[in-house]
Amino acid sequence: MQKRLVLDQKQIAITIDRFCHQLIENHDDFDNTVLLGLQPRGTLVLDKIVKRLKEISGHDVPSGYLDATFHRDDFRRRDIPLKANETKINFLIENKKVVLVDDVLFKGRSVRAAMDAMIAFGRPKKVELMVLIDRKYTRDYPVIPNYFGRQVNTLESQYVSVEWASQGFSEDAIWITEKEVKS
């Protein structure tokens, strides 16, 4: 299986730092901003950002996990249904600026479902999207991230795998991998 490294641990840390500074630049003291990590994998990126934001700026930014499984448009169209994850949002987002955080932006369908799931918690003032990896030219929906770590050109036959040390990998890393062809 062919693998190509996109971001290594150091580069990911730099990207997370950059995200934090961009957020500080655009959201001042975060008095009206909340961050939502998209389940299942955006939450890991979110946790890193929240932790680093606290270190850099001292702000405890309200954050939560958003699961969009029940709002997806591919239910009954996949071979096996996705398993739902916990939604953990202990606040309303009415009139707040919301930053949605995910690891990889691919077709844009998850983000659409997430925006649908999000409005169960109120009508946000503004919504932004932050992703570590933006897979260009693959979108099914007109979704553009406000913040991205790295843009990559990929083929349908490839996937982007995000590995976290906290999940048992040797270190944080993002790879582009060729999907195995079933013979």
């Binding site: 699961d67 499984t69 029940f70 709002h71 239910f75 009954r76 071979d79 096996i80 249904p81 996705l82 398993k83 739902a84 994850n85 916990e86 939604t87 309303l92 649908d116 799931a117 409005i119 169960a120 918690f121 109120g122």
Partner: protein, 307 residues
Amino acid sequence: MQQLSTKHLLGIKGLTADDIQLIFETADNFKDVINRPIKKVPSLRDITIANVFFENSTRTKLSFELAEKRLSADVINFSSSNSSVKKGETLVDTVNNILSMKVDMVVMRHSSPGAPHFLSKNISANIVNAGDGTHEHPTQALLDAFSIREKLGDVAGKKVAIIGDILHSRVALSNIFCLQKLGAEVMVCGPVTLLPKYISSLGVKVEYDVKKALEWCDVANILRIQLERQQIKYFPSLREYSLYYGVDKKMLDQLDKEIVIMHPGPINRGVELNSDVADSEHSIILNQVENGVAIRMAVLYLLAGVK
């Protein structure tokens, strides 16, 4: 595992422990959904569900209907009292007529044990058994076990006594299957005339003294006397039944531990359960009702996802 091993929910007997765990985990998420300001998700927006009730029901039908609407399904209701069944139509014909209207799932209650199993062999839609005679009532058992798990953290290792009219109860049989699959110990308790003769062959303890049953258990699930199913007299009078098998606060106060009180409803207050227990802090009866919607949402969602 992310998919149920069956395309119909005919009974607990046909489910695996993994299926039940998957239903519980999905219900956890739906319980969260129904406690939000907007209590609805669009998952089943392209699905039509027929609630076909050949037997009376209030809370089960309401609970299913609410679950379906919370999942954005289209719902049609059918009850036999105002249908062509009265004019001599067969079960398969009735349901096939409903299915011709492009219905994807059928939630059915019927007075004959095995009716949903029969139907599942004759039609292609997913079928959910909402109670078949004195046989099974799977969603009730699932919500009961889910409520125990919520209250006590786990079902495995817990002692559950099912007290009352076991003979005529589909809730009892489904509960026994469900609790055993999840690793609980089960006891049935009631007058000898209201316990099926071979019930101990299911691996349950049998007790005739309600006080001993309460002393033994962590959870008491108290069932209603089903007078409408009793063709003959199984005990002299309701007053006498209440005297020997009714659970009141005095009995609970005499125990050296706190137990959880459950009841699938409708309660006959003053017969099997006194108000001072039904409305006490021991009782999780209203939690059961709330959990019923979450469990039914999980069942419908997961069955709709089975290919």
